[in-house]
Amino acid sequence: MSAGRLPRLIVLLALATVLPHGDAPRAQSLVADLSHHLIAITTAFVGTQVVAFGVAEGGGDIVVTVQGPREDVIVRRKFRVAGIWVNRERLAFRRVPAYYVVASTGPLEQIARPDVLAQLDIGTEYLDLEPIDASGLEISEIASFKEALVRRKQELGLYSREPIPINFVGEELFRTTLKFPANVPPGIYQVQVFELQDGFATDAQRSTLIVSKVGLEADIYDFAQQRASLYGLMAIALAIVSGWLAGVIFRRG
């Protein structure tokens, strides 16, 4: 938890280059890639799958994490007020991954200690979710908000519940299937593949995956965001024309 982003990266690089475990030093024991690097959200998009695969010669455990674009998120809690349920308390979290999935060759707790998992952002329960201005809230309340954030994301299919299994094909070739639901948020996704031995990361690879609206969907969204007043006028014109058309068509019939 204490390590920042830059020191963590240095640790990783150091681990990857200086500490190849095993009896004989190798140039690179982990090579991994994705079946696609672009998920295109089109009109007919209903979700998709991406295969992460690679070769690990070290014989250690493999863990794959996918993190979506980060955004600040507000978590609200309802209380009963005069008989009805009303949002009363809130806690915002800074730079929450919009999507987070972990795949591994085994139970995370058997692969590494919690502090190692936390440092590498492995596992939903070890994610570093930092509250914004939690003053006035008990530690236990903050924990409930954090749990709720993960739980609601899991219900939306955006966070994994259990680690997805990674299968070995033969001795060294591994693969896993990552699912992306229809509501996957567009943005740049970071995919990290770790090789761990004896509870420590011995190698790591990072690659990016882009989730993007394409074609008409992208055009409509960009238009609505960037030229909002023109978009609004077009929406009005569309409604008026179709209303008028309906009158014309059905008056004849």
Binding site: I41, T42, T43, A44, F45, V46, E71, D72, V73, I74, V75, R76, R77, K78, F79, R80, G83, I84, W85, V86, N87, R90, A92, S144, F145, A148, L149, R151, R152, K153, E155, A182, N183, P185, K213, L216, E217, A218, I220, Y221, A224, Q225, A228, S229, Y231, G232, L233, M234, A235, I236, L238, A239, I240, S242, G243, W244, A246, G247, F250, G253
Partner: protein
């Protein structure tokens, strides 16, 4: 067949949307109401974010009310002078409503506000309509002629800024339709409804307009107010999904045609009882969701600012 909605950022079955549009269009054809009060809650029930449901529904109501306005004005059933005053009030109301919507959304209370507004208005209108139509039905069965609505002069009519409305044969204060329009504008922008279910009785019983011009004038006003609401939601909240709106419009237009021919075969009182029951059913469902313990007390929202 699933279709991805670019603004709602979710994929929905296209035939579900067409079916919803068709079913609500059918009902609006039968009863002569816009159907926004049914469509917006239904969209929320199928998982469309409430803000997007309200913004997109405004443009669907625009399509159907514009179509209706043309038909009514051809028969001379629109009081344009009265309509213009209502629209002026409606513009102010909808500007205020969209601002209020953005505030409530930021406070995390928009879903609650939408539900509460629905429960209060649908409950009131549903009960009044049910009582009135059941009474009318019994009177009809007793074979007595009951068409004796008389324009009463209320203190409201005596407010300053008096105006003459030839088509409605009224000489009343312009503040009254202005205020009514303002109120309907707020409802349009917060509830995603045209407000016909409230406007029509208010125009008959409060303003005292002749029934013949009420529906046409109300549709005229709704066209303008929903147009402005669509624009304001698009600019302030980015919540107008044209793909969603188009699917609903297509379904609604077809449903409305079948509905109006089916409506011609049913009795007025029976229709109103049926409509009142539908209104009350939606009200009860929304009311129950407010008091029942939610599955999860926590909810997520992106931090917009």
């Amino acid at each position: 067949m699933d279709i991805y909605l670019p603004i709602a950022e979710m994929s929905v079955n296209l035939f579900l949307l067409l079916g919803l549009g068709g079913a609500v269009g059918f009902l609006s054809g039968v009863f002569g109401v816009g159907g926004g009060f049914l469509m917006t809650p239904l969209l929320i029930f199928i998982g469309i974010p409430p803000a997007v449901a309200v913004g997109s529904e405004a443009s669907q109501i625009l399509a159907s009310s514009f179509s209706g306005t043309i038909a009514h004005s051809r028969r001379g059933n629109v009081d344009f002078r009265m309509g213009a005053v209502l629209v002026a009030g409606g513009f102010l109301g909808s500007a205020f409503g969209v601002w209020l919507f953005a505030q409530l959304r930021q406070m995390g209370q928009i879903d609650l506000a939408i539900s509460l507004a629905y429960v209060v208005f649908l409950g009131t209108v549903g009960v009044l309509m049910l009582v009135e139509s059941v009474q009318a039905w019994f009177r009809m069965r007793a074979r007595r002629d009951t068409f004796t609505r008389r324009h009463r002069h209320l203190w409201l009519h005596g407010l300053p800024f008096k105006m003459r409305f030839h088509r409605s044969r009224l000489y009343i204060s312009a503040l009254m339709p202005l205020g009514l329009g303002f109120f309907a504008g707020i409802l349009a922008s917060i509830m995603g409804v045209g407000g016909g279910f409230l406007m029509v009785p208010a125009m008959i019983y409060l303003i005292g307009m002749p029934t013949a011009v009420v529906v046409g004038t109300s549709l005229f006003q709704i066209s303008f107010v929903t147009a402005v609401t669509t624009l304001l939601h698009a600019v302030n909240n980015y919540t107008v999904d044209v793909v969603l709106a188009l699917a609903l419009i297509v379904g609604g237009v077809i449903g409305a045609q079948f509905g109006s021919s089916a409506g011609a075969h049913l009795r007025g009182e029976q229709l109103r009882i049926l409509l009142a029951l539908i209104v009350l059913a939606v009200c009860v469902k929304l009311g129950y969701d407010l008091v029942a313990r939610p599955d999860d007390l926590y909810s997520l929202a992106p931090m917009s600012h």
